[in-house]
């Protein structure tokens, strides 16, 4: 293994270790989202679409500035996507000698970048379709991680009888639960495509499509460290065939397209005449005009296309643009993570990397398909039937690289109201079937369920106290009604702020969210001597079925 392979392996391992840190919830002072902030396309597009530059974006700036010195070293050495594609290349690719000559495709990445910029000018971020770090984080986090947990769960099950026999109880009760995510199909197909494309040329993605590569290419046209070829070169063309980026001119191997070169040094290694060297040069001796830069006309067209698609998104029926009020059609079941920014700001920042979903300990955070419109594709939403949202947990915000979820203090956390629970009485066991249940009250951490009595119903029935509900979904998760819960959190009265105190915003709305203070129970009949308390029966219990008085058959009057 040469130096580059070592660095690549190291970076991929660090990337995966950070992802494991995210999913295990281990607290660390290190930036777990470090790799995402290295991606210049994420930083460029998100800064423009959200009109904000975060301190956390500096790593990408450093990468770009280093590009002036070292060229596209990031692509060749650090990028986990590049490394993964190299592995895929060695597994599925063809010999580099047989690669197709598709050099005209090189301009796609620039056009794609301009497309994304065009869209971001209107505050719409489509970077999630093309950012290599966002995509690779989803690949490992939302596709590989569930597979690993599934296999571990099965493996643990196989070992269980042995652990039982040996009384290794901590191991027996390890309880590996396989995580589940939606939108697997997209990641699966997307990466299947990426892994097959090296059959045409190696690093197809990096050469032709990657918008982060495009940003770096623009900054590494004349890098300080560059490939030089001396007079020993006899035009054998070996280097041309070995170059995984197609960065060497076919008819003149002495010339290099520096913006395509990832300084992998394979040409230097392979040259039989030892004519190739990577040296520091200040002047632009060998430089040629970039043949892959598209024409100004095509630049403008793709920028305008991006803008048009963004506007199409903004004018879609369920677009969140504008003030709430009459005529707004917002998704009725879309529950964003706690303290998510207001929808437009949220979407302009969210890069759909999936870190929040990987971090979520109850697996409630899921990427959505079209629930939030096509601008909201793959953005995180809570599926509370899958898991409740623990009011002590805010890992999603802690790992978000673009702060699309507001970081709040510990005592503000429970005021991050995500919605309000609504009981569908016709599904409710107590309301509809006269069954003792009250699981919603039992599990509610906020005391937001009121027990009350209704005429004709022999058991206590639940009502939601909207001003105490935080939308955590404990009730929806635990509701024993199959298959849909009889109590469902709707986005009603979710508190979503760009900045400021959630608590004071909630107080202004008249909310009384608290886990420590429950209302004094106000149950009908509690004060009267022959009344009763919830769940208790009167001293001379009558038959539980409400008495259908009158002996006439239905429909007859007396």
């Amino acid at each position: 293994m040469d130096f580059r392979r070592w660095v690549q392996t190291f970076c991929l391992v660090v990337f995966i270790v950070l992802l494991v840190t995210v999913l295990s919830g281990v607290k660390t002072s290190f930036n777990v989202d470090f790799f995402l902030t290295l991606d210049p396309s994420i930083v460029l597009i998100t800064s423009v679409s959200s009109r904000t530059f975060l301190f956390g974006y500096l790593p990408a700036v450093v990468v770009v500035i280093l590009g002036l010195l070292l060229g596209r070293f990031f692509c060749g050495y650090i990028c986990p996507m590049g490394t993964t594609l190299d592995v895929a290349d060695s597994l599925f690719g063809v010999s580099h000698k047989k690669q197709k000559k598709l050099y005209q495709l090189r301009s796609i990445k620039y056009l794609l970048l301009v497309f994304l910029i065009g869209a971001s000018l209107f505050g719409v971020s489509f970077v999630f379709f093309a950012s290599p770090l966002s995509l690779i984080t989803r690949f490992y986090g939302l596709l590989i991680y569930p597979i690993v947990t599934f296999l571990s769960e099965r493996g643990h099950q196989l070992l269980a009888p042995l652990l039982e026999k040996l009384d290794l109880n901590s191991l027996l009760f390890l309880q590996i639960k396989s995580v589940r995510y939606s939108t697997q199909l997209f990641i699966l197909l997307f990466f299947a495509g990426l892994f097959v494309l090296p059959r045409l040329t190696p690093r197809f993605w990096c050469r032709y499509i990657c918008p982060a590569g495009a940003v770096m290419a623009l900054f590494s046209r004349k890098p300080l460290l560059r490939r030089t070829v001396d007079s020993k070169c006899n035009d054998c063309g070996k280097c041309v065939r070995s170059c995984s980026m197609g960065a060497i001119y076919e008819n003149n191997p002495a010339l290099t397209l520096h913006e395509e070169c990832i300084t992998c040094l394979s040409c230097q290694r392979i040259c039989p005449e030892a004519a190739v060297a990577f040296t520091y040069r200040l002047s632009a001796t060998q430089s040629v005009s970039n043949p892959s830069l598209p024409s100004r006309r095509r630049f403008i067209i793709s920028g305008m296309t991006g803008a048009s698609v963004a506007i199409a998104g903004l004018t879609s029926l369920t677009s969140a643009l504008g003030k709430t009020g009459e005529g707004r059609v917002l998704p009725p079941t879309l529950i964003r993570p706690p303290a998510a920014l207001p929808e437009m700001e949220f979407l302009s920042r969210c890069i759909r990397c999936g870190e929040c979903m990987v971090a979520c300990p109850t697996n409630t955070l899921q990427p959505v398909w079209f629930k939030a419109g096509f601008m909201g594709l793959f953005s995180p939403a809570m599926i509370l039937r899958r898991g409740y949202c623990d009011p002590d947990c805010h890992r999603c915000a802690q790992v978000c690289p673009t702060q699309a979820i507001l970081s709040v203090t510990r005592n503000e956390r429970e005021w991050a109201k995500t919605g309000t629970a609504v009981i569908s009485r016709q599904n409710c066991l107590a309301w509809e079937l006269d069954q003792k249940c009250m699981v919603c009250d039992e599990v509610c951490p906020f005391g937001a369920i009121e027990l009350t009595q209704e005429d004709g119903i022999s058991v206590p029935v639940p009502k939601v106290k909207e001003d105490k509900c935080s939308g955590c979904g404990y009730c929806e998760y635990h509701c024993p009604v199959q298959n849909q819960s009889a109590i469902i959190v709707s986005p009603l009265n979710a508190i979503r702020l760009v900045s400021g105190s959630l608590k004071s915003a909630g107080r202004q709305l008249g909310l009384r969210i608290s886990r420590e203070q429950k209302d004094v129970i106000n149950y009908p009949g509690l004060d009267s001597p022959d009344g009763t308390a919830p769940g208790f029966e009167t001293e001379t219990p009558s038959e539980r079925d409400p008495d259908h008085s009158g002996s006439l058959p239905p429909g007859f009057l007396d």
């Binding site: 769960e153 643990h156 099950q157 269980a160 039982e164 009384d167 109880n169 901590s170 027996l172 009760f173 309880q175 590996i176 639960k177 300990p361 109850t362 623990d390 002590d392 947990c393 066991l429 107590a430 069954q435 003792k436 249940c437 009250m438 699981v439 009250d441 039992e442 599990v443 509610c444 951490p445 005391g447 369920i449 027990l451 058991v459 206590p460 404990y474 635990h478 024993p480 009604v481 199959q482 886990r515 420590e516 203070q517 429950k518 004094v520 129970i521 149950y523 509690l526 009763t532 308390a533 919830p534 769940g535 208790f536 029966e537 009167t538 001293e539 001379t540 219990p541």
Partner: protein
């Protein structure tokens, strides 16, 4: 149940009791003659727990050397001990210590938490309290792989359920609930608490909950019940926070139903007194002879320490 049935049951109860005290039919009661049906001790949680079990003849009456023991406390909620949603950690710890003294082979403290398992085990204080006894003892079972199907002979609402495997393997089952109110079943004591050893609790709510509780208790009959009334969650149970009564009482019995019945009538609920038969599942259990709720006919030894 009408009054006639009730009286009939009472009469039968008295009859059975007289048979019982004559040591004709219940030989194990004969071993420890003079042992009360219910022990009720006032005092600090750990000391009162020990005293209550001693009054019943000591832990060695229940746990034989090498036995596998499962203790079922309430540790299902992410609440502190003061909030009385979970069993007092010192009660659980003392029970574990006593089992160890009786040379139990293996002790498990198990529940199927409703909140995040790690947080519940920590915040309830039970994990930490029991760590010094054995660090490999307190677990939450939130994974269906840990459960095994069990048929319920004579079940009225359930004919089968899924129970934690370790419970099925255990020689001794100890119920150690906290005394608390419950929005749909009135109270949650030893019988209601057994739902924490069951996987599919959903189905129990979709059918008749009171009947379901008695069904599962017929296969999860605790050998010893120790009800933690050191704090009683008198309103807003089972989760709370609600009104907490500092009763400093521990109630122990071999009979789950009797222990539950005694707890119902010993404490006030929502500021008033209730009779055991006002709790649906206690009445159902009594009718089905799982145990006895007519505590007025049972021997109760009270002690203050």
């Amino acid at each position: 149940m009408n009054r006639r049935d009730f009286l009939r049951t009472q009469a039968k109860g008295i009859l059975w009791l007289s048979v019982g005290t004559s040591n004709l039919l219940l030989p194990e009661w004969g071993i420890a003659a003079g042992v009360p049906d219910i022990a009720k001790v006032k005092g600090a949680p750990a000391a009162a727990t020990r005293a209550a079990v001693e009054l019943l003849g000591g832990m060695s009456q229940f746990v034989k050397p090498g036995n596998r023991v499962v203790i079922k406390p309430n540790m299902s909620f992410n609440r502190t001990p003061e909030q009385a949603s979970n069993t007092h950690p010192e009660v659980v710890r003392e029970l574990a210590v006593m089992c160890k003294e009786a040379k139990a082979g293996k002790i498990f403290i198990l529940d199927h938490t409703l909140g995040p398992p790690k947080a519940c085990l920590e915040r309830s204080g039970i994990q930490k309290a029991c760590e010094s006894v054995d660090p490999d003892m307190v677990f939450s079972a939130n994974d269906d792989n840990l459960y095994q199907e069990k048929t319920i002979p004579g079940g009225k609402s359930l004919n089968k359920t899924q129970i934690i495997k370790e419970v099925l393997k255990a020689d001794v089952l100890i119920a150690a609930p906290v005394a608390k109110s419950h929005g749909s079943t009135g109270v949650s004591l030893s019988m209601k608490g057994m739902m924490g050893l069951v996987w599919d609790r959903w189905i129990m709510h979709r059918r008749d909950l009171d009947v379901g509780i008695v069904d599962i208790c017929s296969v999860l009959k605790a050998d010893l019940t120790v009800i933690d009334g050191s704090r009683v969650l008198s309103t807003n149970g089972p989760n709370g926070p609600g009104k907490v009564l500092n009763e400093n009482t521990i109630i122990a019995s071999r009979d789950m139903v009797a222990a539950d019945a005694c707890a119902v009538s010993s404490f006030t609920w929502y500021g008033r007194k209730f009779k055991p038969q006002q709790v649906g599942h206690i009445r159902e259990a009594h009718q089905r002879r799982l145990g006895r709720m007519d505590i007025e006919n049972l021997q109760i030894t009270s002690l203050s320490i």
